[in-house]
Symmetry: none
Subunit: 285 residues, 2 copies
Protein backbone atom coordinates (compact mmCIF):
# COMPACT_ATOMS: atom_id res chain seq x y z
CA UNK A 1 0.00 0.00 0.00
CA UNK A 2 1.37 3.41 -0.82
CA UNK A 3 1.93 6.02 1.84
CA UNK A 4 -0.87 8.30 0.76
CA UNK A 5 -3.41 5.52 1.02
CA UNK A 6 -1.90 4.52 4.30
CA UNK A 7 -2.43 8.01 5.66
CA UNK A 8 -6.04 7.97 4.62
CA UNK A 9 -6.79 4.54 6.03
CA UNK A 10 -5.20 5.28 9.35
CA UNK A 11 -6.49 8.79 10.01
CA UNK A 12 -8.55 7.36 12.82
CA UNK A 13 -5.58 6.06 14.72
CA UNK A 14 -3.94 9.49 14.61
CA UNK A 15 -3.89 11.93 17.45
CA UNK A 16 -5.17 15.47 17.09
CA UNK A 17 -1.86 16.98 16.04
CA UNK A 18 -1.01 14.09 13.82
CA UNK A 19 -4.24 14.58 11.99
CA UNK A 20 -3.30 18.20 11.39
CA UNK A 21 -0.14 16.96 9.78
CA UNK A 22 -2.07 14.43 7.70
CA UNK A 23 -4.47 17.10 6.47
CA UNK A 24 -1.68 19.38 5.36
CA UNK A 25 0.10 16.58 3.57
CA UNK A 26 -3.01 15.37 1.81
CA UNK A 27 -3.86 18.90 0.78
CA UNK A 28 -0.41 19.66 -0.65
CA UNK A 29 1.43 16.42 -1.29
CA UNK A 30 3.62 17.99 -3.95
CA UNK A 31 4.63 20.83 -1.67
CA UNK A 32 5.37 18.42 1.13
CA UNK A 33 8.08 16.53 -0.67
CA UNK A 34 9.95 19.75 -1.23
CA UNK A 35 9.56 21.08 2.28
CA UNK A 36 11.76 20.70 5.30
CA UNK A 37 10.37 19.24 8.48
CA UNK A 38 10.35 22.74 9.95
CA UNK A 39 8.29 24.17 7.11
CA UNK A 40 5.79 21.35 7.30
CA UNK A 41 5.53 21.66 11.06
CA UNK A 42 4.76 25.32 10.66
CA UNK A 43 2.13 24.67 8.00
CA UNK A 44 0.41 22.14 10.19
CA UNK A 45 0.91 24.32 13.24
CA UNK A 46 2.60 21.62 15.26
CA UNK A 47 6.13 21.02 16.48
CA UNK A 48 8.81 19.33 14.48
CA UNK A 49 8.99 16.21 16.61
CA UNK A 50 5.27 15.70 16.05
CA UNK A 51 5.89 15.54 12.33
CA UNK A 52 8.68 13.11 12.96
CA UNK A 53 6.48 10.92 15.12
CA UNK A 54 3.84 11.06 12.41
CA UNK A 55 6.35 9.71 9.92
CA UNK A 56 7.34 6.85 12.16
CA UNK A 57 3.77 5.88 12.76
CA UNK A 58 3.61 5.24 9.05
CA UNK A 59 6.46 2.77 9.26
CA UNK A 60 9.08 5.01 7.80
CA UNK A 61 12.45 5.64 9.36
CA UNK A 62 11.92 9.36 9.75
CA UNK A 63 11.05 12.46 7.83
CA UNK A 64 13.48 12.11 4.92
CA UNK A 65 12.50 8.51 4.46
CA UNK A 66 8.86 9.51 4.59
CA UNK A 67 9.38 12.06 1.86
CA UNK A 68 10.96 9.39 -0.27
CA UNK A 69 7.95 7.17 0.13
CA UNK A 70 5.61 10.05 -0.51
CA UNK A 71 7.50 10.96 -3.65
CA UNK A 72 7.05 7.42 -4.87
CA UNK A 73 3.34 7.44 -4.11
CA UNK A 74 2.95 10.61 -6.08
CA UNK A 75 4.95 9.34 -8.98
CA UNK A 76 3.17 6.06 -8.96
CA UNK A 77 0.31 6.93 -11.26
CA UNK A 78 -2.23 8.93 -9.35
CA UNK A 79 -2.03 10.76 -6.12
CA UNK A 80 -5.69 9.93 -5.85
CA UNK A 81 -7.00 8.28 -2.79
CA UNK A 82 -10.41 7.73 -1.40
CA UNK A 83 -10.98 10.75 0.78
CA UNK A 84 -14.23 11.12 2.58
CA UNK A 85 -16.27 14.25 2.30
CA UNK A 86 -16.54 16.08 5.60
CA UNK A 87 -19.31 18.15 7.04
CA UNK A 88 -17.38 21.38 6.83
CA UNK A 89 -16.04 20.95 3.30
CA UNK A 90 -16.59 23.82 0.91
CA UNK A 91 -17.40 23.36 -2.79
CA UNK A 92 -13.76 23.29 -3.70
CA UNK A 93 -12.99 20.56 -1.21
CA UNK A 94 -15.87 18.23 -1.91
CA UNK A 95 -15.52 18.62 -5.67
CA UNK A 96 -11.88 17.63 -5.49
CA UNK A 97 -12.58 14.80 -3.09
CA UNK A 98 -15.31 13.27 -5.19
CA UNK A 99 -13.25 13.42 -8.35
CA UNK A 100 -10.30 11.94 -6.56
CA UNK A 101 -12.07 9.15 -4.80
CA UNK A 102 -13.82 8.20 -8.01
CA UNK A 103 -10.47 8.00 -9.72
CA UNK A 104 -9.05 6.03 -6.85
CA UNK A 105 -11.97 3.63 -7.12
CA UNK A 106 -11.34 3.18 -10.81
CA UNK A 107 -7.73 2.49 -10.05
CA UNK A 108 -8.53 -0.33 -7.65
CA UNK A 109 -11.18 -1.64 -10.03
CA UNK A 110 -8.57 -1.73 -12.75
CA UNK A 111 -6.28 -3.75 -10.57
CA UNK A 112 -8.90 -6.17 -9.40
CA UNK A 113 -10.86 -6.89 -12.53
CA UNK A 114 -10.18 -10.33 -13.90
CA UNK A 115 -9.09 -10.05 -17.51
CA UNK A 116 -9.89 -13.65 -18.28
CA UNK A 117 -13.45 -13.23 -17.20
CA UNK A 118 -13.69 -10.04 -19.22
CA UNK A 119 -12.49 -11.93 -22.24
CA UNK A 120 -14.93 -14.75 -21.69
CA UNK A 121 -17.75 -12.26 -21.21
CA UNK A 122 -16.85 -10.67 -24.54
CA UNK A 123 -16.85 -14.14 -26.10
CA UNK A 124 -20.28 -14.83 -24.79
CA UNK A 125 -21.64 -11.44 -25.80
CA UNK A 126 -20.35 -11.62 -29.37
CA UNK A 127 -22.08 -14.92 -29.82
CA UNK A 128 -25.34 -13.89 -28.20
CA UNK A 129 -28.59 -14.12 -30.09
CA UNK A 130 -30.08 -11.55 -27.75
CA UNK A 131 -28.62 -9.50 -24.92
CA UNK A 132 -30.63 -8.30 -21.94
CA UNK A 133 -29.44 -5.82 -19.37
CA UNK A 134 -31.15 -5.82 -16.01
CA UNK A 135 -30.57 -3.54 -13.07
CA UNK A 136 -32.61 -2.00 -10.30
CA UNK A 137 -32.24 1.31 -8.52
CA UNK A 138 -28.91 2.95 -9.22
CA UNK A 139 -27.84 0.04 -11.39
CA UNK A 140 -30.83 0.62 -13.65
CA UNK A 141 -29.12 3.58 -15.23
CA UNK A 142 -26.06 1.47 -15.84
CA UNK A 143 -28.21 -1.09 -17.61
CA UNK A 144 -29.77 1.73 -19.55
CA UNK A 145 -26.37 2.92 -20.62
CA UNK A 146 -25.32 -0.56 -21.62
CA UNK A 147 -28.35 -0.83 -23.83
CA UNK A 148 -27.44 2.46 -25.46
CA UNK A 149 -24.02 1.06 -26.30
CA UNK A 150 -24.88 -2.41 -27.45
CA UNK A 151 -27.87 -1.21 -29.37
CA UNK A 152 -25.44 0.44 -31.77
CA UNK A 153 -23.98 -2.94 -32.60
CA UNK A 154 -27.13 -3.93 -34.36
CA UNK A 155 -27.69 -6.83 -31.97
CA UNK A 156 -31.05 -7.45 -30.36
CA UNK A 157 -30.76 -5.72 -26.99
CA UNK A 158 -33.31 -5.15 -24.31
CA UNK A 159 -33.08 -3.37 -21.02
CA UNK A 160 -35.62 -3.35 -18.24
CA UNK A 161 -35.65 -1.63 -14.92
CA UNK A 162 -39.01 -3.05 -14.02
CA UNK A 163 -39.12 -6.35 -12.12
CA UNK A 164 -42.18 -7.63 -13.89
CA UNK A 165 -40.78 -6.95 -17.32
CA UNK A 166 -37.45 -8.41 -16.28
CA UNK A 167 -39.18 -11.53 -15.06
CA UNK A 168 -41.17 -11.97 -18.23
CA UNK A 169 -38.11 -11.37 -20.30
CA UNK A 170 -36.10 -13.87 -18.27
CA UNK A 171 -38.76 -16.53 -18.63
CA UNK A 172 -38.75 -16.05 -22.36
CA UNK A 173 -35.03 -16.41 -22.67
CA UNK A 174 -33.46 -19.38 -24.39
CA UNK A 175 -30.14 -20.94 -25.20
CA UNK A 176 -27.84 -18.45 -26.86
CA UNK A 177 -29.36 -15.52 -25.04
CA UNK A 178 -27.22 -13.55 -22.67
CA UNK A 179 -28.59 -11.87 -19.58
CA UNK A 180 -26.44 -9.27 -17.84
CA UNK A 181 -27.46 -8.61 -14.24
CA UNK A 182 -26.06 -5.49 -12.64
CA UNK A 183 -26.02 -4.96 -8.90
CA UNK A 184 -23.34 -3.48 -6.70
CA UNK A 185 -24.17 -5.43 -3.58
CA UNK A 186 -25.44 -8.53 -5.35
CA UNK A 187 -27.99 -8.94 -2.62
CA UNK A 188 -31.09 -7.61 -4.33
CA UNK A 189 -33.52 -10.50 -4.04
CA UNK A 190 -35.53 -9.76 -7.15
CA UNK A 191 -32.48 -9.67 -9.34
CA UNK A 192 -31.23 -12.97 -7.95
CA UNK A 193 -34.55 -14.49 -8.91
CA UNK A 194 -34.24 -13.11 -12.42
CA UNK A 195 -30.77 -14.57 -12.76
CA UNK A 196 -31.99 -17.96 -11.57
CA UNK A 197 -34.94 -17.95 -13.94
CA UNK A 198 -32.77 -16.99 -16.88
CA UNK A 199 -30.35 -19.80 -16.08
CA UNK A 200 -33.16 -22.31 -15.83
CA UNK A 201 -34.12 -21.28 -19.32
CA UNK A 202 -30.61 -21.97 -20.58
CA UNK A 203 -29.54 -18.37 -20.97
CA UNK A 204 -25.98 -17.40 -20.10
CA UNK A 205 -26.03 -15.05 -17.13
CA UNK A 206 -23.26 -12.51 -16.66
CA UNK A 207 -23.21 -10.79 -13.29
CA UNK A 208 -21.64 -7.39 -12.79
CA UNK A 209 -21.68 -7.60 -9.03
CA UNK A 210 -19.80 -8.36 -5.85
CA UNK A 211 -17.77 -11.53 -6.01
CA UNK A 212 -19.09 -13.38 -3.02
CA UNK A 213 -22.74 -12.48 -3.22
CA UNK A 214 -26.05 -14.33 -3.65
CA UNK A 215 -26.37 -12.93 -7.16
CA UNK A 216 -22.88 -14.11 -8.05
CA UNK A 217 -23.92 -17.63 -7.11
CA UNK A 218 -26.68 -17.56 -9.70
CA UNK A 219 -24.46 -16.40 -12.54
CA UNK A 220 -22.57 -18.25 -15.22
CA UNK A 221 -19.89 -15.60 -15.24
CA UNK A 222 -19.13 -13.02 -12.59
CA UNK A 223 -17.43 -9.72 -13.30
CA UNK A 224 -16.47 -8.38 -9.94
CA UNK A 225 -15.12 -4.92 -9.28
CA UNK A 226 -14.92 -4.65 -5.50
CA UNK A 227 -14.46 -0.93 -5.28
CA UNK A 228 -14.62 0.69 -1.88
CA UNK A 229 -17.85 2.61 -1.59
CA UNK A 230 -18.13 5.88 0.23
CA UNK A 231 -20.76 4.97 2.74
CA UNK A 232 -20.95 8.37 4.39
CA UNK A 233 -23.26 9.78 1.79
CA UNK A 234 -25.56 6.79 1.65
CA UNK A 235 -25.56 6.93 -2.09
CA UNK A 236 -23.91 4.66 -4.62
CA UNK A 237 -21.26 6.69 -6.37
CA UNK A 238 -17.95 5.11 -7.25
CA UNK A 239 -19.35 1.62 -7.73
CA UNK A 240 -21.67 2.81 -10.45
CA UNK A 241 -18.92 4.61 -12.33
CA UNK A 242 -16.79 1.49 -12.22
CA UNK A 243 -19.68 -0.54 -13.59
CA UNK A 244 -20.03 1.88 -16.47
CA UNK A 245 -16.39 1.65 -17.32
CA UNK A 246 -16.72 -2.10 -17.31
CA UNK A 247 -19.58 -1.79 -19.76
CA UNK A 248 -17.34 0.38 -21.92
CA UNK A 249 -14.73 -2.34 -21.80
CA UNK A 250 -17.15 -5.04 -22.80
CA UNK A 251 -18.48 -2.90 -25.61
CA UNK A 252 -14.97 -2.17 -26.81
CA UNK A 253 -14.02 -5.82 -26.65
CA UNK A 254 -17.13 -6.54 -28.64
CA UNK A 255 -16.30 -4.14 -31.44
CA UNK A 256 -12.69 -5.26 -31.61
CA UNK A 257 -13.80 -8.85 -31.91
CA UNK A 258 -16.06 -7.94 -34.77
CA UNK A 259 -13.29 -6.35 -36.79
CA UNK A 260 -12.87 -3.12 -38.66
CA UNK A 261 -15.73 -3.46 -41.11
CA UNK A 262 -18.06 -3.58 -38.18
CA UNK A 263 -16.76 -0.30 -36.92
CA UNK A 264 -17.97 1.35 -40.09
CA UNK A 265 -21.44 0.50 -38.83
CA UNK A 266 -20.82 2.40 -35.63
CA UNK A 267 -19.81 5.41 -37.62
CA UNK A 268 -23.06 5.17 -39.55
CA UNK A 269 -25.05 5.07 -36.34
CA UNK A 270 -23.24 8.12 -35.10
CA UNK A 271 -23.68 9.94 -38.38
CA UNK A 272 -27.37 9.20 -38.30
CA UNK A 273 -27.61 11.56 -35.36
CA UNK A 274 -26.44 14.46 -37.44
CA UNK A 275 -29.89 15.43 -38.59
CA UNK A 276 -31.02 15.94 -35.03
CA UNK A 277 -28.11 18.20 -34.20
CA UNK A 278 -26.98 21.71 -34.85
CA UNK A 279 -24.01 21.95 -37.08
CA UNK A 280 -20.74 22.15 -35.27
CA UNK A 281 -19.62 25.37 -36.88
CA UNK A 282 -22.40 27.76 -37.64
CA UNK A 283 -24.82 27.38 -34.80
CA UNK A 284 -24.54 31.03 -33.96
CA UNK A 285 -27.09 32.26 -36.46
Amino acid sequence: MNVLEKIVTSVNSFSKSERKVADVILANPQTTIHSSIAALAKMADVSEPTVNRFCRRLDTKGFPDFKLHLAQSLANGTPYVNRHVEEEDGPEAYTAKIFESTMAALDTARQRVDINTVNRAVDVLTQAKKISFFGLGASASVAHDAQNKFFRFNVPVVCFDDIVMQRMSAINSAEGDVVVCISHTGRTKNLCDIAAIARENDATVIGITAYDSPLAKECTLVLSLDVPEDTDMYMPMASRVAQLVLIDILATGFTLRRGSKFRENLKKVKDSLRGSRFDKKDFNN
Copy 2:
Protein backbone atom coordinates in the same frame (compact mmCIF):
# COMPACT_ATOMS: atom_id res chain seq x y z
CA MET B 1 12.56 13.44 -18.63
CA ASN B 2 13.14 11.46 -15.47
CA VAL B 3 16.41 11.56 -13.61
CA LEU B 4 17.51 8.05 -14.46
CA GLU B 5 17.15 8.71 -18.16
CA LYS B 6 18.92 11.99 -17.70
CA ILE B 7 21.90 10.24 -16.11
CA VAL B 8 22.13 7.83 -18.98
CA THR B 9 21.91 10.46 -21.69
CA SER B 10 24.49 12.71 -20.11
CA VAL B 11 27.17 10.23 -19.05
CA ASN B 12 29.43 11.72 -21.67
CA SER B 13 29.43 15.15 -20.15
CA PHE B 14 30.48 13.78 -16.78
CA SER B 15 33.95 13.92 -15.37
CA LYS B 16 35.83 10.83 -14.27
CA SER B 17 34.64 10.94 -10.68
CA GLU B 18 31.14 11.86 -11.65
CA ARG B 19 30.97 8.86 -13.90
CA LYS B 20 31.95 6.66 -10.98
CA VAL B 21 29.00 8.07 -9.10
CA ALA B 22 26.71 7.55 -12.08
CA ASP B 23 27.78 3.93 -12.39
CA VAL B 24 27.09 3.19 -8.76
CA ILE B 25 23.69 4.85 -8.89
CA LEU B 26 22.67 3.09 -12.08
CA ALA B 27 23.82 -0.22 -10.64
CA ASN B 28 21.92 0.15 -7.34
CA PRO B 29 19.26 2.80 -7.70
CA GLN B 30 17.14 1.33 -4.94
CA THR B 31 20.05 1.33 -2.53
CA THR B 32 20.92 4.86 -3.48
CA ILE B 33 17.67 6.39 -2.40
CA HIS B 34 18.18 4.94 1.05
CA SER B 35 21.78 5.94 1.43
CA SER B 36 23.37 9.06 2.82
CA ILE B 37 25.69 11.12 0.72
CA ALA B 38 28.59 9.72 2.74
CA ALA B 39 27.64 6.12 2.04
CA LEU B 40 27.22 6.77 -1.63
CA ALA B 41 30.51 8.64 -1.80
CA LYS B 42 32.24 5.66 -0.23
CA MET B 43 30.58 3.23 -2.63
CA ALA B 44 31.69 5.28 -5.60
CA ASP B 45 35.06 5.89 -3.99
CA VAL B 46 34.82 9.63 -4.33
CA SER B 47 34.38 12.48 -1.91
CA GLU B 48 31.07 13.77 -0.66
CA PRO B 49 31.22 17.11 -2.46
CA THR B 50 31.72 15.23 -5.71
CA VAL B 51 28.44 13.47 -5.20
CA ASN B 52 26.84 16.77 -4.40
CA ARG B 53 28.22 18.36 -7.55
CA PHE B 54 26.97 15.40 -9.50
CA CYS B 55 23.47 16.04 -8.20
CA ARG B 56 23.53 19.67 -9.18
CA ARG B 57 24.71 18.86 -12.63
CA LEU B 58 21.42 17.06 -13.01
CA ASP B 59 19.45 20.17 -12.21
CA THR B 60 18.53 19.19 -8.69
CA LYS B 61 19.03 21.37 -5.66
CA GLY B 62 21.32 18.95 -3.93
CA PHE B 63 21.60 15.40 -2.76
CA PRO B 64 18.30 15.12 -0.88
CA ASP B 65 16.44 16.66 -3.78
CA PHE B 66 18.19 14.30 -6.14
CA LYS B 67 17.07 11.32 -4.09
CA LEU B 68 13.50 12.57 -4.32
CA HIS B 69 13.70 12.75 -8.08
CA LEU B 70 15.34 9.37 -8.23
CA ALA B 71 12.62 7.89 -6.07
CA GLN B 72 10.01 9.20 -8.44
CA SER B 73 11.80 7.78 -11.44
CA LEU B 74 11.94 4.43 -9.76
CA ALA B 75 8.31 4.33 -8.82
CA ASN B 76 7.14 2.19 -11.66
CA GLY B 77 4.19 4.30 -12.46
CA THR B 78 2.45 4.98 -15.67
CA PRO B 79 0.71 8.29 -15.45
CA TYR B 80 -2.79 8.20 -16.73
CA VAL B 81 -3.08 9.44 -20.21
CA ASN B 82 -5.65 9.14 -22.88
CA ARG B 83 -4.44 6.15 -24.78
CA HIS B 84 -6.44 5.06 -27.75
CA VAL B 85 -7.52 1.51 -28.18
CA GLU B 86 -5.85 -0.11 -31.16
CA GLU B 87 -7.10 -2.72 -33.55
CA GLU B 88 -4.67 -5.36 -32.35
CA ASP B 89 -5.12 -4.81 -28.61
CA GLY B 90 -5.81 -7.87 -26.50
CA PRO B 91 -8.23 -7.88 -23.55
CA GLU B 92 -5.48 -6.89 -21.17
CA ALA B 93 -4.49 -3.91 -23.28
CA TYR B 94 -7.88 -2.48 -24.00
CA THR B 95 -9.07 -2.97 -20.42
CA ALA B 96 -6.11 -1.03 -19.12
CA LYS B 97 -6.46 1.64 -21.77
CA ILE B 98 -10.11 2.27 -21.12
CA PHE B 99 -9.61 2.48 -17.38
CA GLU B 100 -6.69 4.82 -17.84
CA SER B 101 -8.23 7.11 -20.37
CA THR B 102 -11.35 7.36 -18.25
CA MET B 103 -9.21 8.35 -15.31
CA ALA B 104 -7.31 10.81 -17.45
CA ALA B 105 -10.60 12.32 -18.57
CA LEU B 106 -11.75 12.67 -14.98
CA ASP B 107 -8.49 14.36 -14.17
CA THR B 108 -8.94 17.00 -16.83
CA ALA B 109 -12.59 17.41 -15.90
CA ARG B 110 -11.51 18.00 -12.34
CA GLN B 111 -9.15 20.72 -13.41
CA ARG B 112 -11.58 22.42 -15.74
CA VAL B 113 -14.78 22.39 -13.79
CA ASP B 114 -15.68 25.80 -12.46
CA ILE B 115 -16.18 25.61 -8.73
CA ASN B 116 -18.17 28.82 -8.59
CA THR B 117 -20.68 27.53 -11.05
CA VAL B 118 -20.89 24.28 -9.14
CA ASN B 119 -21.63 26.24 -6.03
CA ARG B 120 -24.27 28.34 -7.72
CA ALA B 121 -25.85 25.23 -9.21
CA VAL B 122 -26.05 23.73 -5.74
CA ASP B 123 -27.64 26.97 -4.53
CA VAL B 124 -30.25 26.81 -7.20
CA LEU B 125 -30.94 23.13 -6.65
CA THR B 126 -31.40 23.43 -2.91
CA GLN B 127 -33.98 26.13 -3.43
CA ALA B 128 -35.82 24.36 -6.22
CA LYS B 129 -39.51 23.59 -5.92
CA LYS B 130 -39.14 20.89 -8.50
CA ILE B 131 -36.12 19.46 -10.30
CA SER B 132 -36.26 17.96 -13.78
CA PHE B 133 -33.48 16.03 -15.45
CA PHE B 134 -33.54 15.77 -19.21
CA GLY B 135 -31.19 13.92 -21.47
CA LEU B 136 -31.36 12.07 -24.74
CA GLY B 137 -29.40 9.09 -26.00
CA ALA B 138 -26.38 8.36 -23.85
CA SER B 139 -27.14 11.32 -21.62
CA ALA B 140 -30.52 9.82 -20.81
CA SER B 141 -28.91 7.32 -18.48
CA VAL B 142 -27.09 10.13 -16.75
CA ALA B 143 -30.39 11.92 -16.23
CA HIS B 144 -31.82 8.67 -14.96
CA ASP B 145 -29.01 8.36 -12.48
CA ALA B 146 -29.45 11.94 -11.34
CA GLN B 147 -33.08 11.24 -10.66
CA ASN B 148 -32.12 8.22 -8.59
CA LYS B 149 -29.89 10.43 -6.46
CA PHE B 150 -32.05 13.49 -6.01
CA PHE B 151 -35.13 11.41 -5.46
CA ARG B 152 -33.59 10.32 -2.17
CA PHE B 153 -33.58 13.90 -0.99
CA ASN B 154 -37.32 13.92 -0.80
CA VAL B 155 -37.57 16.70 -3.38
CA PRO B 156 -39.96 16.51 -6.30
CA VAL B 157 -37.84 15.12 -9.12
CA VAL B 158 -38.74 14.07 -12.59
CA CYS B 159 -36.67 12.61 -15.37
CA PHE B 160 -37.70 12.08 -18.95
CA ASP B 161 -35.84 10.60 -21.85
CA ASP B 162 -38.76 11.14 -24.19
CA ILE B 163 -38.91 14.40 -26.15
CA VAL B 164 -42.65 14.71 -25.94
CA MET B 165 -42.73 14.23 -22.20
CA GLN B 166 -39.79 16.59 -21.80
CA ARG B 167 -41.60 19.19 -23.85
CA MET B 168 -44.78 18.90 -21.85
CA SER B 169 -42.86 19.02 -18.64
CA ALA B 170 -40.92 22.09 -19.76
CA ILE B 171 -44.09 23.92 -20.75
CA ASN B 172 -45.54 23.23 -17.34
CA SER B 173 -42.54 24.54 -15.49
CA ALA B 174 -42.72 27.72 -13.44
CA GLU B 175 -40.60 30.04 -11.40
CA GLY B 176 -38.65 28.17 -8.75
CA ASP B 177 -38.41 25.06 -10.88
CA VAL B 178 -35.03 23.85 -11.99
CA VAL B 179 -34.45 22.06 -15.25
CA VAL B 180 -31.17 20.24 -15.76
CA CYS B 181 -30.33 19.55 -19.40
CA ILE B 182 -27.61 17.03 -20.06
CA SER B 183 -25.84 16.75 -23.39
CA HIS B 184 -22.19 16.17 -24.15
CA THR B 185 -22.12 18.02 -27.43
CA GLY B 186 -24.78 20.56 -26.56
CA ARG B 187 -25.94 20.42 -30.14
CA THR B 188 -29.00 18.22 -29.83
CA LYS B 189 -31.73 20.39 -31.30
CA ASN B 190 -34.60 18.95 -29.31
CA LEU B 191 -32.87 19.53 -26.02
CA CYS B 192 -32.08 23.14 -26.95
CA ASP B 193 -35.76 23.66 -27.58
CA ILE B 194 -36.62 22.20 -24.21
CA ALA B 195 -34.15 24.51 -22.51
CA ALA B 196 -35.62 27.52 -24.31
CA ILE B 197 -39.17 26.57 -23.42
CA ALA B 198 -38.27 26.05 -19.78
CA ARG B 199 -36.58 29.44 -19.64
CA GLU B 200 -39.58 31.12 -21.23
CA ASN B 201 -41.64 29.68 -18.42
CA ASP B 202 -39.32 31.19 -15.80
CA ALA B 203 -37.60 28.00 -14.79
CA THR B 204 -33.89 28.05 -14.01
CA VAL B 205 -32.04 25.96 -16.56
CA ILE B 206 -28.76 24.26 -15.67
CA GLY B 207 -26.84 22.83 -18.59
CA ILE B 208 -24.36 20.02 -18.16
CA THR B 209 -22.85 20.44 -21.57
CA ALA B 210 -20.06 21.88 -23.70
CA TYR B 211 -19.26 25.46 -22.88
CA ASP B 212 -19.61 27.09 -26.24
CA SER B 213 -22.61 25.23 -27.59
CA PRO B 214 -26.15 26.08 -28.69
CA LEU B 215 -27.53 24.44 -25.59
CA ALA B 216 -25.22 26.45 -23.36
CA LYS B 217 -26.66 29.62 -24.86
CA GLU B 218 -30.12 28.64 -23.70
CA CYS B 219 -29.09 27.94 -20.12
CA THR B 220 -29.09 30.08 -17.01
CA LEU B 221 -26.07 28.23 -15.70
CA VAL B 222 -23.60 26.10 -17.62
CA LEU B 223 -21.55 23.35 -16.07
CA SER B 224 -18.94 22.52 -18.58
CA LEU B 225 -16.58 19.57 -18.42
CA ASP B 226 -14.74 19.60 -21.73
CA VAL B 227 -13.25 16.16 -21.50
CA PRO B 228 -11.51 14.76 -24.53
CA GLU B 229 -13.70 12.09 -26.03
CA ASP B 230 -12.29 8.99 -27.57
CA THR B 231 -13.78 9.30 -31.00
CA ASP B 232 -12.29 6.12 -32.38
CA MET B 233 -14.98 3.96 -30.94
CA TYR B 234 -17.86 6.16 -31.99
CA MET B 235 -19.42 5.82 -28.59
CA PRO B 236 -19.65 8.32 -25.76
CA MET B 237 -17.55 6.97 -22.92
CA ALA B 238 -15.47 9.32 -20.84
CA SER B 239 -17.84 12.26 -21.22
CA ARG B 240 -20.67 10.33 -19.66
CA VAL B 241 -18.59 9.21 -16.71
CA ALA B 242 -17.53 12.80 -16.09
CA GLN B 243 -21.17 13.88 -16.19
CA LEU B 244 -22.03 11.27 -13.61
CA VAL B 245 -19.30 12.43 -11.31
CA LEU B 246 -20.59 15.96 -11.68
CA ILE B 247 -24.02 14.74 -10.66
CA ASP B 248 -22.40 13.12 -7.63
CA ILE B 249 -20.83 16.44 -6.79
CA LEU B 250 -24.08 18.34 -7.07
CA ALA B 251 -25.84 15.75 -4.96
CA THR B 252 -23.11 15.89 -2.35
CA GLY B 253 -23.21 19.69 -2.29
CA PHE B 254 -26.93 19.43 -1.87
CA THR B 255 -26.77 17.16 1.17
CA LEU B 256 -24.00 19.20 2.76
CA ARG B 257 -26.04 22.36 2.34
CA ARG B 258 -28.96 20.70 4.01
CA GLY B 259 -27.02 19.78 7.14
CA SER B 260 -26.55 16.67 9.18
CA LYS B 261 -30.14 16.07 10.17
CA PHE B 262 -30.99 15.75 6.55
CA ARG B 263 -28.46 13.02 6.16
CA GLU B 264 -30.42 10.90 8.59
CA ASN B 265 -33.10 10.88 5.95
CA LEU B 266 -30.71 9.42 3.43
CA LYS B 267 -29.87 6.68 5.83
CA LYS B 268 -33.55 5.92 6.18
CA VAL B 269 -33.94 5.67 2.43
CA LYS B 270 -31.04 3.31 2.29
CA ASP B 271 -32.31 1.24 5.17
CA SER B 272 -35.68 0.97 3.49
CA LEU B 273 -34.00 -1.20 0.88
CA ARG B 274 -33.08 -3.78 3.44
CA GLY B 275 -36.32 -5.71 3.06
CA SER B 276 -35.65 -6.27 -0.60
CA ARG B 277 -32.19 -7.61 0.02
CA PHE B 278 -30.53 -10.72 1.28
CA ASP B 279 -28.85 -10.30 4.59
CA LYS B 280 -25.19 -9.47 4.38
CA LYS B 281 -24.04 -12.34 6.50
CA ASP B 282 -26.07 -15.47 6.08
CA PHE B 283 -27.08 -15.59 2.47
CA ASN B 284 -25.48 -18.95 2.05
CA ASN B 285 -28.40 -21.00 3.31
